[in-house]
């Protein structure tokens, strides 16, 4: 589904990614771990189409398409979803307004009829209950005045409504208490199907207790320095990044 080849990117002339190679197949969940500053969030942002990065080499193919050539909204409609590390507040725009716009943009792209107000409301209320959120948050401005945990739940709520093909979760576990972490994980796990793939960007192993990855990659200094199965995350948790030596340890300092 996703093929990343030798991806190199920089911001303001500073190299952040220095040759990423990664294959993600349908049905797989990949975790990308690594010390702060290793380039994990940059990778997620570039895949979603955020401005401000210069791609200096490499390619990304998603379902056979050149992903990097698409503007962010077309990636979203084609099924790429980024759950933000820092969800953005949009005052004056109600949450339900955005949800409806997003769902219908995706449906138009898929060539299926837009949901009418009643059907949409029924669907969204069902997902709100599933995410153990209060219905009143639908009518509040997008993320405005939400606690850290509410913002993250709101990201996953959007994800369960948009039903992406490729979900990118950027540090979704950061700032969550254990109850919120369980709900967020429940939301993510509900979307695990053989057709869907996920990339979890995380600093800590904790999230992986709840969402079991198929592959774990360690990113350091803009490169994947080690890949393995779920057990790699446990090893990182026990030993930190230092045992990887060289570049990983250097960046972690």
């Amino acid at each position: 589904m996703l093929e990343i080849r030798n991806l190199c990117a920089e911001i303001d002339g500073k190299a952040i990614l220095r040759g990423i190679d990664l294959d993600v197949k349908a049905g797989e969940v990949h975790a990308i771990m690594g010390p702060n500053g290793s380039g994990k969030s940059t990778l997620a942002s570039i895949l979603a189409g955020r401005d401000g990065y210069t791609i200096t080499a490499g390619s990304v193919r998603y379902q056979g398409q050149d992903l990097l050539a698409l503007p962010p909204e077309e990636r979203a409609r084609a099924g790429v979803f980024l759950a933000f590390q820092y969800p953005v507040e949009i005052p004056g725009v109600s949450n339900i307004y955005l949800l409806k716009a997003a769902v219908n943009a995706r449906r138009r792209h898929q060539g299926i009829p837009e949901l009418d107000a009643m059907d949409f409301l029924a669907l969204v209320k069902d997902r709100v209950r599933f995410m153990e959120m209060d219905e009143s948050m639908l009518y509040r401005a997008v993320n405005e005045g939400f606690s850290g945990g509410e913002k993250k739940r709101n990201e996953i709520l959007q994800m369960t409504l948009l039903e992406p093909t490729l979900a990118l979760l950027d540090e979704t576990d950061s700032g969550l208490d254990i109850d919120a972490l369980k709900v967020v994980s429940k939301g993510v796990n509900s979307l695990r199907t053989p057709e869907r793939a996920m990339i979890l960007v995380t600093h800590y192993q904790r999230l992986l207790d709840y969402i079991k990855p198929d592959c774990v990659h360690v990113l350091a200094g803009g490169r994947i320095v080690k890949s393995g199965g779920a057990e790699l995350a446990l090893e990182l948790e026990r030993q930190g990044y230092a045992w990887l030596g060289g570049e990983a340890a250097g960046v972690a300092r």
């Binding site: 189409g49 401005d51 962010p72 990636r75 949009i90 725009v93 716009a101 997003a102 943009a105 995706r106």
Partner: protein, 437 residues
């Protein structure tokens, strides 16, 4: 014929028909006002307060005064009103009261009267004297004052539902002179929603004056919506006096017109009076919108907060001048002012200036002005959810604008109505309407 001569001739033509004409208490005020306009003429750009706003275009096309009301249908009003289901609605067409479109259920102690009716019935009560501190346009309004609304709410009386006041321009090629007088007694409370709108796309000049006085502890929410037609010049002067403990919440939405000028002058005259002024100007196309606020802290312990926002697109131009005067005795003044502007095109222009004149020493005064573009993080967030760029830009613009609605309780018909007007006026706003929950 110059504009001054034109209005001299118009006055000669109409003076005898104006309500209350023939009574010295009325004639003397109109006469004095005309004399001031004659001697001063239209404000010129050499005046500091009019530096960026030229009225020279008005000289070339003198428009006759609308001596009577045109006609309109109920449907036209319902379609455009900020508050379609108003309980109290007073309609003036081309400056003249339209009883057939007006209704209210005001409580005892609250009185809404047509100025024309009052002048006909009791001309000896006269007209309020010309305010020399206002521009010559106010004098011109007074010289032709034929009708308008006089709203009085007696001490202790609370009007729960908003009072909708519609000033409708129905005929192009006319000058209109609406007048508003509001007096709230001790502890009285009311919400007045004033909306200027045009039912034609032609030229017109609407010169409006409002005089508001709030007795001790009185509370007024005053919302003014300028939604004039694309070729209308809207010139407005609103002065508010607040006695001790009175509170004003003012919201001005300038959404239409070809040229708009709003003078809002607040006098905090008694201790603990408070004024909150919010404003939004939306300048598109070649529209020119100028907002001049003046807040005079004349007494100690008063507070004022101003938050004006501007959206300027295309080749439009906007002006904000926020003047705050703190008198020598006005210790413990708390005065804040912010002016935030979004410039959406290279040709758009904003001139913003705070003007603080502080003569007391124990005060807290702040001001800040920003000029910027749409927030990139907000745009990316929306696009990453599948909204196209144009839609995301409109939403982020709307988010910026909608903050001015914060003083209006969310979920009320008034909030919904203002939101709808705002959306309709925004670039690309029409494509967002069907997204409303």
């Amino acid at each position: 014929m110059s504009l001054v001569e034109h209005f001299g001739a118009e006055h000669a033509r109409l003076a005898a028909q104006l309500p209350g004409a023939g009574h010295p208490a009325v004639d003397s005020v109109r006469g004095a006002a005309l004399a001031r306009f004659r001697s001063q003429g239209l404000p010129q750009t050499r005046l500091e307060d009019w530096k960026y706003t030229s009225l020279a275009g008005l000289e070339h096309k003198p428009l006759p005064v609308a001596a009577s009301a045109g006609s309109l249908t109920a449907g036209q009003l319902a379609a455009q009103a900020a508050l379609p289901q108003a309980v109290h609605r007073l309609v003036f067409i081309d400056g003249h009261f339209a009883p057939e479109h007006s209704f209210h259920q005001l409580p005892a102690g609250a009185l809404a009267a047509s100025l024309a009716a009052r002048l006909a019935a009791a001309p000896q009560d006269g007209l309020p004297a010309d305010d020399p501190a206002a521009s010559a346009l106010s004098a011109l309004n007074l010289a032709f004052s034929a009708d308008g609304l006089e709203l009085e709410v007696a001490a202790g009386v609370v009007v729960e539902q908003p009072i909708l006041l519609l000033w409708v321009g129905s005929q192009p090629e006319h000058s209109t002179f609406p007048a508003l007088r509001v007096r709230l007694g001790q502890g009285a409370r009311a919400c007045l929603v004033e909306q200027h709108l045009s039912l034609h796309a032609g030229t017109a000049v609407n010169t409006a004056v409002a005089r508001i006085s709030l007795a001790g502890q009185a509370e007024l929410q005053h919302i003014k919506v300028q939604a004039e037609g694309p070729r209308v010049v809207h010139l407005s002067d609103c002065a508010v006096e607040l006695a001790a403990g009175a509170r004003l919440r003012s919201l001005v939405l300038a959404l239409g017109g070809q040229l708009g000028r709003e003078d809002l002058r607040i006098a905090l005259q008694g201790r603990n009076a408070a004024a909150e002024l919010d404003g939004l100007y939306l300048a598109r196309g070649r529209r020119h919108l100028d907002h001049h606020t003046t807040v005079v802290h004349a007494s100690p312990d008063c507070s004022s907060r101003q938050d004006y926002r501007g959206i300027i697109d295309d080749a439009a131009r906007a002006v904000f001048n926020g003047r705050v005067v703190v008198a020598r005795d006005a210790q413990h003044t708390d005065a804040q002012q912010t002016n935030a502007n979004l410039l959406l095109s290279d040709a758009a222009e904003i001139d913003t200036k705070p003007q603080l004149e502080i003569f007391a020493d124990d005060v807290r005064c702040s001001h800040g002005a920003t000029v910027g573009q749409l927030d990139a993080a907000e745009l990316f967030y929306l696009r990453s959810r599948g909204l196209d760029e144009a839609q995301a830009r409109t939403l982020v613009t709307f988010a910026f604008a909608a903050r001015c609605l914060a003083p209006v309780p969310a979920g009320t018909p008034l909030h919904d109505g203002l939101r709808r007007l705002l959306l309709a006026a925004l670039p690309g706003g029409e494509q967002l309407e069907n997204l409303t929950p």
